[in-house]
């Protein structure tokens, strides 16, 4: 492991410990608690997208599909009286089980074809969820009972679960990056044909990456559903759940372990400071951010800092 790798591990461990203490420090600060929960959920999505989009180099727009699926699986199970812990596990499983066959098929496509096929997964799930109204409540959405109804207990609970999930997802990213799988994904990103030539089973590794990326996204959806208490198809299958994580990773640094952390923090901060003041133009504001980011800082904050220059 490189010295930079050890530094990253140290930062993750210290950050993880700090996260364990955060809920205690933030108790009684509902605004900050909400902000940190938002950050954690975005970080989960960003770090898990990074496995497919960053490590493997496949431009996936399917994050929102798994997020929405997880939200619905958990909400339906909880409505039927299943314990929340079990519901989170089931959401993750559902994400992984769907990602297997979908990934195996869709990952045969490359470039633009893969991007749009992955984008369509969310649209399809949204239509099916809206159509299957007996189970999902259709366009009317579903209400989740929550943790006994006390909003403060629920907020603190959501904060702790989402922080823990975020730390686990970043660790998962590190574990993949420094494993045989990560090396294989590196090869695929650089030159898939050559990777296949030296014996990398690209189809298998890509599918593994896709499954591993979908599980935390689905669990994040489940946590979100429990936290907000009400979900409907247009909210949880919103394409923004796919795009925001990509922007966060591009802000921080594509394919790096700490890039998603830095990117998600900057993104949430920008969202609060800037867009709160121009509420009616929040989506447009994100567009301006994207265009400026890609023109000025195409490599993201982290690699630019490391290499000491802003243009790669």
């Amino acid at each position: 492991m490189t010295s930079r790798g050890r530094l990253a591990i140290a930062i993750i461990v210290i950050g993880g410990l700090a996260c364990a203490g955060l809920p205690l420090i933030l108790a009684g600060e509902p605004y900050l608690m909400r902000l940190v929960t938002m950050f954690s959920l975005l970080l989960v999505l960003a770090a898990s997208w990074n496995i497919v989009g960053g490590f493997t180099g496949y431009p996936s727009f399917a994050t929102g599909a798994f997020f929405g699926l997880g939200a619905y699986v958990a909400a339906i199970l909880q409505a039927k009286g299943v314990d929340w812990r079990l519901a989170l596990v089931a959401a993750g499983l559902a994400g992984g089980v769907l990602a297997g066959p979908v990934g195996y098929g869709v990952l045969r496509l490359r470039g633009h074809y893969f991007a749009v096929a992955s984008l369509m997964l969310g649209t399809i799930l949204k239509e099916l969820t809206t159509g299957w109204s007996d189970l999902t409540g259709g366009g009317m959405g579903l209400t989740i009972a929550g943790a006994g109804g006390d909003p403060e207990v629920l907020a603190s609970f959501a904060l702790r679960v989402s922080l823990a999930l975020a730390v686990l997802t970043v660790l998962l990213g590190a574990a993949i990056k420094w494993s045989r799988l990560g090396f294989g994904l590196d090869c695929i990103r650089m030159n898939e044909t050559a990777a296949a030539g030296i014996g990398v089973d690209a189809q298998k590794l890509k599918t593994y990456a896709f499954i591993l990326s979908s599980i935390p996204s689905a669990v994040a959806g489940a946590v979100y559903a429990g936290w907000i208490g009400y979900i409907d198809p247009t909210d949880v299958y919103d394409v923004m759940w796919s795009v925001k994580p990509i922007v966060a990773v591009l802000l921080g640094g594509l394919g790096t372990i700490l890039g998603p952390v830095i990117g998600a923090a900057i993104f949430v901060a920008l969202e609060e400071i800037v867009w709160r003041n121009v509420l009616s133009f929040s989506a447009g504001g994100l567009g301006v951010l994207i265009v400026l980011l890609l023109l000025v800082l195409p490599a993201g904050v982290l690699p630019s800092l490391v290499s000491g220059k802003t243009r790669s």
């Binding site: 431009p59 074809y113 369509m120 399809i124 239509e127 990509i246 591009l250 447009g284 567009g287 265009v291």
Partner: protein
């Protein structure tokens, strides 16, 4: 007989899809860019037609002459001075970039025009033509004919005019075209301008039939993409075939599966196509 009517409706719808897909396909084929903002550009064209009708009483089919040049200019400038700077970047970057442009354009339209649906009324006769037991609404017939006509005009322009042949040359082999003295950056700007002009034309035709709102843009993008892949990348006539096919598939899907699953039906057809014949109906392999 009901089936024949459904297929006819699908073809009329498909004529509009053809116009939407033609520009999208051209930009994708020549610049290797998926323009996520294409759907919003279509909506912008619809607004041009709507306001021209509202304030000057202009027929939306004639508003094409207004929206086409307007969007061509906007597209030319956007490509020449903005997109050109990321054109060589990986797929992810160009995708996210045009996504950002789409967010700006779409949110601007919602801010300026609100998300309310607006409809052009009283321009076309409401009594449909009849063809045996089949009925043909006049507005749909004219709009579909105009859509296919615009796509054919683009095809002829690409193959007969000097600039059009340069565009085709760049699509086939950028480096060789450059060596022959073609200024690739200008060709890119012209191509992107043509792509948006086609979106504007499609927008005018849609405004003649359907209510206009920025909320439609994602659906239009989706249509353009599916039609383009069905027909085959890199061929305007392929986009026309793909648009017509998609219109029929959607109408049949609405009949047999239910209109609320329109996107799912189209997506299933698209995925089957991608796995079995990725070059599309009329596309040529290796044209990516």
């Amino acid at each position: 007989m009901q089936l024949a009517q459904v297929i006819l409706n699908g073809l009329l719808l498909g004529g509009l899809y053809a116009a939407m897909a033609a520009g999208f396909s051209l930009v994708w084929g020549v610049l290797n860019i998926i323009n996520i903002a294409q759907g919003s550009a279509v909506v912008l064209g619809s607004y041009v037609a709507y306001f021209a009708w509202r304030y000057a009483g202009l027929n939306p089919l004639l508003a094409v002459a207004l929206a086409g040049p307007l969007l061509f200019g906007a597209g030319w400038v956007l490509q020449r001075f903005l997109i050109q700077r990321v054109i060589a970047a990986p797929v992810l970057i160009t995708l996210v970039f045009t996504f950002g442009m789409d967010l700006i354009l779409n949110n601007s339209m919602i801010s300026l025009f609100t998300a309310d649906y607006r409809k052009i009324e009283g321009v076309f006769p409401t009594v449909p033509l009849s063809l045996g037991s089949l009925t043909l609404p006049v507005d749909r017939l004219l709009a579909a004919a105009a859509g296919i006509g615009a796509a054919f005009a683009l095809h002829v322009y690409l193959h007969k005019s000097r600039l059009g042949r340069a565009i085709v040359a760049v699509r086939m082999d950028r480096q060789t075209a450059e060596l022959m003295g073609v200024r690739v950056e200008i060709i890119y700007a012209t191509t992107f301008g043509l792509g948006l002009a086609m979106a504007g034309v499609a927008g005018c035709l849609l405004a003649a039939i359907f209510p206009t709102s920025p909320l439609n843009s994602a659906y239009y993008l989706h249509i353009a993409f599916v039609a383009c892949v069905l027909g085959g990348l890199g061929s305007v006539l392929g986009a026309v075939a793909g648009g017509l096919l998609l219109g029929v598939v959607e109408s049949l899907g609405a009949l047999f599966v239910g209109a609320e699953y329109g996107t799912t039906v189209a997506a299933v057809v698209l995925l089957l196509m991608l796995f079995t014949r990725p070059q599309g109906l009329l596309g040529r392999a290796g044209y990516e």
